[in-house]
């Protein structure tokens, strides 16, 4: 394979991985802290996309501006979801923990379908197809932007978790909820903030990819399953692991897709996913103990 082509394939894969990372980091954080697998995660991305679309379609607001309106909106929706559903499912029987977010996902998807129909909509921006050329490698500008934002978010989150008192409180809750409560940490508030920030990140991703991808109620499906794979590979609960795994999966998808075809790439990573779950449930990059389900 010529070098140019190889570089282009790797770059495309990395950029794609960047998109996944923004979803994966939030999903893994929710699991790590709340021990809840958020099946509704990609629906918040979908809502972010719709937010960007409508602000653009109705008032011509550019997605890179509307992100400052949409993300707080999605954050509030996260607060609402957390209050109404998530907090009530914590400590409940397993069936509640698993199916409550699945129910939220079904609800949001179809509420969007009801409100906005199954029509497929696209945001058109002058930079939608803009490209930066790095030697012979071409990098889509919106992809690059979301890639940078994803990495910045992941880095910021990492710094927040490790450098601030509240971040450490979040870690404390993840490591031992009861002990954290006994330190005077308001566990409910930690849950609320974690969940809402994570889904707001998903909403941000929705806005960022709006210039590239079409918007429709079921768009979340294209991502959620891949992101599950990533989060498990990276080790449920591990932010750093999620980022690395996201980039890895992006590259694998791109390379296998080029060599073998898209359909088989999908099959391949599901098999890897199963194998990892069975052989090393803490993930390829996760630390031992994180997989213990409490």
């Amino acid at each position: 394979m010529p070098l140019d082509l190889t570089l282009q394939i790797l770059t495309s894969g990395l950029l794609l991985g960047g998109l996944y990372a923004l979803l994966a980091v939030g999903l893994t954080l929710i699991f790590g802290v709340l021990r809840v697998v958020n099946f509704a995660h990609a629906e918040f991305m979908m809502l972010g996309m719709f937010g960007a679309y409508w602000l653009w379609a109705l008032w011509g607001i550019d997605p890179y501006l509307s992100i400052f309106i949409v993300v707080p909106g999605v954050f509030l929706l996260g607060v609402l979801t957390d209050r109404l559903v998530i907090q009530r499912s914590i400590g409940a029987p397993e069936v509640t923990v698993v199916f409550a977010t699945l129910g939220v996902s079904i609800f949001l998807q179809n509420a969007a379908l009801t409100a906005w129909s199954a029509d497929i909509r696209s945001v058109t921006t002058p930079y939608g197809s803009a490209v930066v050329e790095l030697g012979s490698v071409r990098i889509s500008v919106p992809m690059l932007v979301s890639f940078v934002v994803a990495l910045a978010f992941a880095t910021g989150l990492w710094l927040f978790l490790n450098r601030t008192m509240f971040g450490k409180a979040i870690q404390a809750v993840a490591q031992n909820r009861d002990a954290a409560a006994l330190m005077g940490i308001d566990v409910g508030r930690v849950y609320l903030v974690t969940y809402s920030v994570a889904v707001a990140a998903a909403g941000a991703m929705g806005v960022l990819i709006a210039p590239l991808f079409s918007v429709y109620p079921r768009v979340g499906l294209s991502y959620i399953v891949t992101v599950f794979v990533i989060v498990v590979l990276g080790g449920l609960g591990s932010v750093v692991g999620a980022v690395i795994a996201a980039l890895l999966v992006g590259v694998i998808e791109s390379v296998v897709g080029f060599l073998l075809g898209t359909a088989w790439a999908e099959l391949a990573y599901f098999l890897v996913f199963l194998a990892v779950l069975v052989v090393r449930p803490q993930g390829l990059l996760g630390r031992r103990g994180a997989e213990v389900y409490q």
Partner: protein, 236 residues
């Protein structure tokens, strides 16, 4: 006036009764111990006091105010602090972070640096291991950390759940010495222990729980002299 007053406390998990009609009192600057066999309800009592398990009946009054319905962090804010059984340090955070998290509440945070220095003086080992992950400490060190972390919250009433659990005899004595030091610092202490003899030497008064009910109470001397206690817990 008592710092803590409990009356008619009842806790159950599902249809299983864990505590039934428990009444107990802790005066200011007193050290009180709760004795009892495994699963007699001692840990449940402390968890109920901290708000980690809901109570079905009865009242908990702390410093003249009913705190029954308050969430755990509000109770900590009022100075009702617990060092839980099994230490429960945050294994993937370092010693310093563990300690600082102890002072997470608003009241404690105001004096964080001063308390921090004092705790490190009290537990020099922790000062040496400041940057080490808590999970990598030995059992004794983890217990010291848990105690220190509890002190960081500037407790008015410090509840200790089995602080000597699983420690070597030498360490047990060390822990007890620290508890005595804490007590000398005019902190009120409510201690749950299996190590009955040492605890009774430390405590002013004590209660004995049996199957979730209060079976006996009295001064430490009375309890230590009680045949029942001696036979059941001292193995004599």
């Amino acid at each position: 006036m008592s710092l803590l007053e409990i009356e008619g406390l009842r806790v159950s998990y599902g249809d299983m009764l864990a505590l039934d009609d428990v009444a107990l009192e802790v005066g200011a600057e007193e050290t009180v111990t709760v004795l009892g066999a495994n699963a007699a309800g001692k840990t449940t009592l402390l968890r109920a006091l901290s708000g980690l398990v809901p109570t079905q009946e009865g009242s908990i009054v702390f410093d003249g105010e009913a705190i029954d319905g308050l969430p755990p962090h509000d109770r900590v804010e009022r100075g009702l602090v617990q060092v839980p059984e099994g230490r429960m340090v945050f294994p993937f955070l370092n010693v310093e972070d563990n300690l600082r998290l102890g002072a997470y509440g608003k009241r404690a945070r105001e004096e964080l640096e001063a308390t921090f220095d004092r705790v490190l003086t009290l537990f020099p080992r922790l000062a040496e291991r400041r940057a080490q992950l808590a999970g990598s400490l030995s059992g004794g060190e983890q217990q010291m950390l848990a105690l220190g972390r509890g002190l960081m919250a500037r407790p008015r009433l410090l509840m200790l759940d089995e602080p000597s659990l699983g420690l070597a005899p030498r360490l047990v004595s060390e822990v007890m010495e620290r508890v005595a030091a804490i007590r000398a610092d005019r902190v009120t202490v409510l201690i749950v222990e299996q190590n009955v003899a040492q605890t009774l030497r430390l405590a002013d008064r004590g209660y004995v729980l049996e199957n979730g009910r209060l079976a006996l109470s009295g001064t430490a001397e009375e309890l230590a002299a009680s045949d029942e206690v001696r036979r059941a817990y001292l193995g004599m």
